[in-house]
Amino acid sequence: MGNFLRSAAVLIIIVSTVVLQVLLTRYFPRLLLDLPLVAVLYLTMAKESLLWTIMSGTVVGFLQDSLSPGPAGLNGFTKIAIGCLAYMTNTIIAVDRVATRWGLLFVSSLLAALLFLLLRVLFLNRNESLDGERILLSGLINACAGLPLFYIFDKISRPANE
């Protein structure tokens, strides 16, 4: 029952990040925060299971792709790939300190942006111009917003006695 509830909480986290992202960008169209990416990275580090990374990346990516004009699979791939990289990093370096978590979020965000653009160039034949300033700013925002969000996610998905 406990596992079921925790899994339900995780599912709620995943869905709610996408919903929240949609609502936020409704009112702040220039927002550079990628909440779903933060959620996937959180699950990767919290669950320490690649299965969770894949599952969450797929669900989040599918939801994002479904609600945006882009082709399906682009966001899912990006999320899973970056989630796996974060998972591997987590197995090598203990990502439990604030600084390392911040660093992981920042680097993951940059890599996710680059991978996203690369996929668009390779698979959609788009001429992408690399907006370095925007990517860096997005990375900073994701990293700074990710830390308190990790804490909130922790509170939601983990029981009090843990």
Partner: protein, 273 residues
């Protein structure tokens, strides 16, 4: 042991008091019309204390009453404040409604002037990624919306529908990097393709270098893309730059404020019949 001693003292005090009262009662029987001197003195001595005490009690009583009044006032104040807040909210919502009605009226006027089947839709969400310029609308296939239906508002073209479900649809804004709109310039009649830059601005590709483009010139839909009807306002020419070989790049500012989009008018596709 200590408890027992205390009880004895109390008993003694009680007896003394009772006896004292009996003595006083016994002396009253001999009273004349005047107040006995001892009693008068006692009264005089007692007066300042009593008056102070009464004053204190009155003060405390007043203080208490004031406190109660203050509390009531505070409560009343709080209630009034919340009432004012409620009124403010109501006024704000009325103001919003009035603005919305104004916008919808403009859309309705546009609707009748266009004489095309259309449906009004409300923006219910933004883009779930940070890479596209799109909006989620509250109308879908159930309302007659299909893919590639153009969307406009009172200021001009805003985009086209790219995803449709029964109750909702995704609107790709003309500022999206993947968007392309067939356009022509009002005066020079030069044609090209308007591409989004991912922000509020866009640019026109494939405008010949020999074309004389005037800054501030209106950019209209050409209708050649088979999506947007001809003659709809898209924006104004901002600047021109020489581009590759025979073409020039024309920067355009979009007339519709796509960043603050709330309602749009979706032009339905006319059936072949």
């Amino acid at each position: 042991m200590k408890q027992l001693f205390k009880t004895r003292v109390e008993w003694i005090l009680l007896l003394v008091a009772l006896i004292g009262h009996l003595v006083l009662l016994s002396t009253r029987m001999n009273e004349s019309g005047q107040t006995p001197l001892l009693r008068a003195w006692t009264m005089d001595v007692a007066y300042p204390f009593l008056s102070q005490a009464v004053g204190s009690v009155t003060s405390v009583s007043n203080l208490w009453r004031n406190y109660i009044d203050l509390r009531r006032s505070r409560e009343e104040n709080g209630a009034l404040k919340s009432q004012i807040e409620e009124y403010r909210r109501t006024i704000t919502s009325y103001e919003e409604k009035i603005k919305e009605i104004g916008r919808l009226e403009v859309l309705s006027e546009l609707d009748t002037s266009l004489s095309l089947p259309s449906v009004k839709a409300r923006v219910i969400g933004g883009d779930p990624t940070q890479w596209y310029q799109s909006r989620i609308l509250d109308k879908g296939a159930g309302d007659g919306i299909a893919r590639d239906c153009p969307a406009i508002n009172a200021d001009g073209v805003v985009g086209r529908i790219v995803q449709v479900s029964r109750n909702t649809s995704v609107l790709q804004l003309i500022t999206d990097v993947d968007s392309g709109v067939g356009v022509l310039l009002e005066n020079s009649r030069a044609q090209g393709v308007l591409k989004g830059e991912g922000r509020h601005e866009a640019f026109i590709e494939y405008v010949g270098s020999s074309e004389k483009v005037v800054i501030g010139e209106k950019v209209l839909t050409s209708g050649l893309d088979q999506i947007y009807p001809k003659g709809l306002l898209v924006g104004y020419v901002l600047a021109t730059k020489p581009a590759k070989q025979v073409f020039q790049k024309v920067d355009v500012t979009i007339s519709a404020n796509v960043l603050k989009l709330e309602e749009v008018l979706i032009l339905k596709k006319e059936s072949p019949s």
